[in-house]
């Protein structure tokens, strides 16, 4: 858990996250990520063998999450006419994006 993040790591993660960083930004992020990951490395002190991960507190007993599952029924969602005007480019039926496939 003491992996040192490299410039290549930052570039790879930025690509995964669809973020384009300037060389300046990459330098700052490299420094910050290493500082933060150094700090979180203290978690490795703690023995968590056999501890089930907790993704949602609603699964804890007494947390108010009992009976959360609902019937799988169709309910109307927002009207297309209300939603499409917020799109940067649209013909009011579809979202338009730059060309994906060359032909």
């Amino acid at each position: 858990m003491t992996a040192k993040v490299t410039v290549e790591d930052v570039a790879r993660v930025a690509e995964l996250a669809h973020l384009e960083l300037t060389p300046d930004e990459t330098g700052h992020m490299l420094h910050d990520l290493n500082a933060i990951l150094d700090y979180v490395a203290q978690l490795s002190e703690l023995d968590t063998a056999g501890v089930a991960p907790l993704a949602q507190v609603t699964e804890l007993e007494g947390a108010g999450g009992e009976g959360l599952l609902r019937q799988d029924t169709v309910i109307p969602s927002l009207d297309r006419g209300a939603v499409m005007p917020q799109a940067p480019e649209t013909d009011q039926v579809f979202f338009k994006v730059p060309k994906v496939i060359e032909r």
Partner: protein
């Protein structure tokens, strides 16, 4: 951006209590429309100095206020918040009003629907004044990460109001709203409430619907109220709490009368004081204020008991892994396709995604997306994300065990009073540590209230955090009322 001020100024004014405002409206001596207009006047006067509101919803507010007045004139029964001017954090959507989440990427976005909490407030008669400034996507502890400039603390304009709900806290402190809504993922209601000297509520996870909240970390995000006193905060929570089919994690547990709960005496309640919240890094003046608050509780008949929560020190690392991992997934939706900003100069789809996101997001948001993506990436998932979730269970179970022995736990809300603008902006880790006492309850899903508990020698507010078990807000309100009653 607020204008530069060399000498710090103060704009503190305590709003009237709900009950007093309601009396005027019931008697017909106060018109809801006049009340709203007077708040808009004060906002127009102070906003250029404090940068609290990002946008105003005047038409909708005045129309709704006129309806309240019409109901009052007919002598019909008035709903619980009739005519009360309320502000909404800009991460909660309101139909037809800009909702930016403090980000450039959502500049100009006009959501086509209301958040459930917005509908509930309006149905209860509240007059919604406008949208409040905050850190971009609620990521920050000082409000300095807003793309629209920082909010200044009304107590001392040289200082931050806390974050991320800095506008929500400052609005109540400066009487630019009688009450407000904020959101809390790691401390974003409690810490600014503490810095601005107002009451802030972290409801149990699932108590208040998240429908219409622009998501940061969905397993941690909560919506809660700010008010000038504990009873009004309890009234606000009673209005916004309850089951909502639009939020899959919304709890079906019935909503008690929180205001009535807050009226109950505290005599006989068992209060735990955890040693881990009073260690290194705690400001001595904050400590003295909290100790004074604990004495108040003893005098009121509570049994105070020293306790230990040994996993506390692991909360910040676990929190920043879980929260950033979830954020990296949630913020993938901002891609320039369906809403918000699209970079104009992109000839391929992939370039459009990355240009739009690069130009639209600020530095802290990028930092957290990168950290979260890293923690979720192949080879690191087990060591970081899974480990953090295991630690999360240990922290939650530690609280649950402790709440078998005590009714409430009291701590400082933040290790220091409000810090100076710019003091921590260069060091992200130092900024994260401002949340050291608040992230524990966030991870565990329990509830809490922060209540003003004295001031430093220079007059900066200090907040006491009162934590209670899941779905036990009533107890937290009772204890907070007793602390409030002990203030001069």
């Amino acid at each position: 951006m607020p204008s530069e001020t060399k000498t710090p100024e103060t704009f503190v004014e305590k709003p009237k209590a709900f009950a007093e405002m309601r009396e005027g409206i019931l008697a017909g001596s106060v018109k809801s429309v006049d009340l709203a207009a007077s708040y808009y006047e004060r906002i127009e006067q102070l906003n250029p100095r404090l940068n609290v509101y990002l946008s105003l919803t005047k038409d909708r507010a005045l129309e709704h206020a006129a309806e309240v007045d019409a109901t009052a004139a007919k002598g019909d029964p008035l709903p619980p918040l009739a005519g009360i001017p309320v502000g909404i954090k800009d991460v909660l959507v309101m139909r037809g009003a800009p909702s930016t989440a403090g980000s450039k990427i959502l500049q100009g976005y006009q959501p086509p629907y209301d958040a459930t909490v917005v509908s509930k407030l309006e149905a209860a008669g509240a007059v919604l004044l406008g949208k409040l400034n905050c850190d971009e996507f609620a990521m920050g502890s000082s409000n300095e990460n807003s793309a629209y400039g920082p909010v200044l603390n009304p107590v001392d304009t040289g200082r931050v109001p806390g974050g991320s709900s800095g506008g929500s806290a400052a609005a109540v402190a400066a009487n630019m709203a009688v009450a407000t809504l904020g959101t809390d993922t790691g401390g974003s209601i409690r810490q600014p409430a503490s810095f601005c000297g107002v009451v802030g509520v972290l409801p149990t996870y699932g108590r208040v619907s998240r429908y219409g909240l622009i998501a940061f970390a969905s397993s941690l995000d909560r919506v809660g109220p700010f008010a000038a006193n504990v009873r009004d905060a309890a009234t606000m929570l009673g209005v916004i709490a309850g089951h909502d089919p639009m939020d899959a994690t919304s709890s079906p547990v019935p909503v008690p009368d929180y205001a009535a709960e807050s009226d109950k005496p505290v005599e006989g309640l068992r209060i735990g004081v955890p040693a881990e919240y009073f260690g290194e890094g705690l400001d001595s003046e904050v400590r003295a204020c909290i100790e004074q608050g604990i004495t108040t509780l003893k005098t009121a008949g509570c049994t105070v008991k020293p306790i230990s929560l040994p996993h506390t020190r692991y909360a910040i690392p676990a929190y920043y892994l879980v929260a950033t991992a979830e954020a990296s997934a949630n913020l993938a939706r901002f891609d320039g396709v369906r809403y918000g900003y699209r970079s104009p100069a992109s000839d391929t789809l992939s370039a459009m995604y990355s240009h739009s996101r690069d130009e639209g997001f600020g530095a802290e948001v990028k930092r957290r997306i990168l950290l979260g993506t890293y923690a979720l990436s192949a080879g690191y998932y087990d060591a970081y994300y899974l480990k953090a979730q295991q630690v999360r269970r240990l922290l939650a179970e530690e609280f649950i065990r402790m709440f078998a022995e005590v009714d409430a736990i009291v701590t400082p809300t933040a290790p220091t009073p409000a810090f100076k603008l710019g003091e921590k902006t260069g060091d992200p880790l130092a900024m994260y540590l401002a949340d050291i006492y608040t992230v524990t309850a966030s991870l565990a899903g329990i509830c809490g209230v922060t209540v003003p508990c004295g001031t430093t020698r220079t007059g900066l507010p200090v907040g006491m955090q009162v934590l209670a078990a899941h779905m036990n807000e009533g107890t937290a309100f009772r204890v907070a009322r007793a602390v409030e009653a002990g203030q001069k």
